[in-house]
Symmetry: C2
Subunit: 359 residues, 2 copies
């Protein structure tokens, strides 16, 4: 993945910000590797106008318009991760042109006989980002305190946990800290070039996979660990809890979108109040490793600037915690909060006389 340089991102029929969130994030963080979006229903428009990222990146109507491309990346993440039927011919065309195919879907390209045969004939690679062979339970012992682990969690899926993790990690690095974004989902892995597709791990091994991801990264001083789903989501809560318990965070950043009342994909299923979610996350974390919510990331994409300022003030007043909208304001307030939180954790360690060695 990390070696791909000329990507076309397929969003055919799904070129809007939430459905095409994989496309939007890859464009946002790997802009120089992307040559176009592909959506024949939106040809001639720009990515910035359609998916809110990529500015004037062109949307082409066929692969003929992007002859220099060497990779087709499937740019959506639908519930259950199936390949849309009408995409099959587009993928086969790309294979025939000698392009590698990168997919984050649950339906693995590499288990599809037609794609496998075509790829073999064309000599191209089928890269299934979600494929994994995680088959070990967690060791389940404390992870040590030398490496500070901050984990983004949300009131729903698709509220910006990955973006917050990346932006805060980048902000910490700009502030001179040795911080690392740890990817746990297909889009994060496409951006970082490594990580663990935790929602595709067999449930007995989810905590183990998360734990191993931390052990592989704890040479850094601070980890920003991408969260998945929501502890309250009727579909994805096991993924969320496995990450929370497996990576044993010291602190949580609670992410939410203003105006999101119902769970993504579940009309009529109301999301519990943010305060209830904060309590639920802290009580769940406490069972394995205590982790307070130490900051709140607000996603204000649906509201105007003035309303966002009002909302931030309201949340600050209710939770007495740092709040920022990393999309609008940058991550500064959360970066400062993580650095202050690290000092608190260190002071607490000294008080408790904890040796805190790395495992």
């Amino acid at each position: 993945m990390s070696s791909a340089h000329k990507m076309v991102i397929l969003t055919e029929g799904f070129s809007e910000p939430i459905a095409a969130k994989t496309a939007a994030s890859v464009v946002r963080y790997r802009r120089s590797d992307v040559v176009a979006l592909l959506d024949s229903t939106q040809a001639g428009k720009t990515a910035g106008g359609l998916i809110g990222a990529g500015d004037d990146l062109p949307v082409c109507g066929s692969l003929d318009q992007a002859p220099q491309a060497d990779t087709l990346l499937l740019g959506i993440a639908p519930p259950g991760g199936k390949i849309p039927l009408r995409w099959r011919q587009i993928i086969l065309d790309a294979i025939a042109r000698g392009m590698d195919i990168v997919s984050g879907l649950h339906d693995f390209l590499s288990r599809d006989e037609q794609f496998v045969a075509a790829a073999r004939q064309a000599g191209v690679r089928l890269v299934d980002v979600r494929q994994n062979n995680e088959r070990e339970v967690a060791v389940g012992q404390p992870l040590g305190d030398d490496c500070l682990r901050i984990h983004t969690v949300g009131h729903d899926c698709s509220v910006g946990k990955m973006v917050v993790s990346i932006e805060v990690a980048n902000g910490l690095r700009q502030a001179g800290a040795d911080a690392q974004f740890v990817a746990t989902g297909q889009t994060g892995i496409m951006i970082a070039g490594e990580g663990c597709p935790i929602d595709c791990v067999v449930s007995d091994f989810v905590c183990g996979a998360a734990e191993r991801l931390i052990l592989a990264n704890q040479s850094h001083d601070i980890l920003l660990i991408e969260g998945q789903g929501s502890l309250a989501h009727p579909r994805y809560s096991p993924v969320t809890l496995g990450l929370l318990h497996g990576c044993q965070p010291h602190g949580l950043i609670l992410c939410y979108e203003v105006g999101r009342m119902e769970f993504n994909g579940l009309p009529g299923r109301r999301i519990p109040p943010l305060a209830q979610l904060r309590t639920a996350y802290e009580i769940a974390a406490q069972l394995v490793h205590p982790a307070p919510v130490m900051g709140i990331a607000m996603n204000g994409r649906q509201i105007a600037v003035a309303d966002a300022e009002h909302e931030k003030a309201r949340i600050r007043d209710e939770f007495r915690l740092p709040v920022c909208d990393v999309f609008r304001d940058g991550p500064g307030e959360l970066v400062a909060a993580v650095l202050a939180f690290r000092d608190q954790v260190r002071a607490h360690r000294r008080e408790c006389g904890d040796s805190g060695g790395k495992r």
Copy 2:
């Protein structure tokens, strides 16, 4: 599985109650289908003496001593579910004798080239109880109230959740109710002949698999849904939460073993107090479907009768809930509690004017 009639249960080297919990439970509930345990290190003893179930069921030292057997069932459930190396030759011997092999391990027999080749040659079946093809997310909408869903949860794994579920379901049937045990683990499936091996489902689909299991069984009036792991277990909590959210129980029976201080398999990792677990379960359930702990199942296998009575009184006093040890006392108190709880749920439904239809 349900058609097997002459089983030998392999416990070689692991013939003690916790390691051989699969063997113990199959012997307990399918006694008439079992001809012997196989453990060359314990030959000549009885199952009752070794694993606490099966009374005078013989322990044989080789398959020569059970010539009538047609099935070899692997009788352990180790962490991670690997096949012990020294068992391979025993399994190959059984295959060569024309025996079907039934396994609940994560290491599927049907993906082991040597076993597959041997089974093909001998014309026998390799049955992997944990194998599943669950690939759909949950619908995630309310399940309705006509069918009362009671779910056993625990402070740790291996504390008796399956036995409590079976015993309470049997007790309810004896009391004239239409109750059904719903199996969610390999041993439960071996006993019931059906169910879902939830800990082997890919994490994105765990809630969906649990939900489908309920939809398939809700023609019954009362379901006793087997729990897995523990919400606090550093290895298995995602499995536990996926069941809790996917099956949307009305009420929980909290199961614990007296004297169990550390998590199964994790020396030094202390189990949180029972009251903390009760709160954590109720808060987690509330996020999707409210479910109070309506009874407590005490497992007193490590303590004397007098101490067990004292412990029950202490727990009754602390939690103000029905408590029983189904192993020692039978399930009567919990059966009565479930029937009373059903009346409460019905009364609540009438008060709320809920139509409560089945989905």
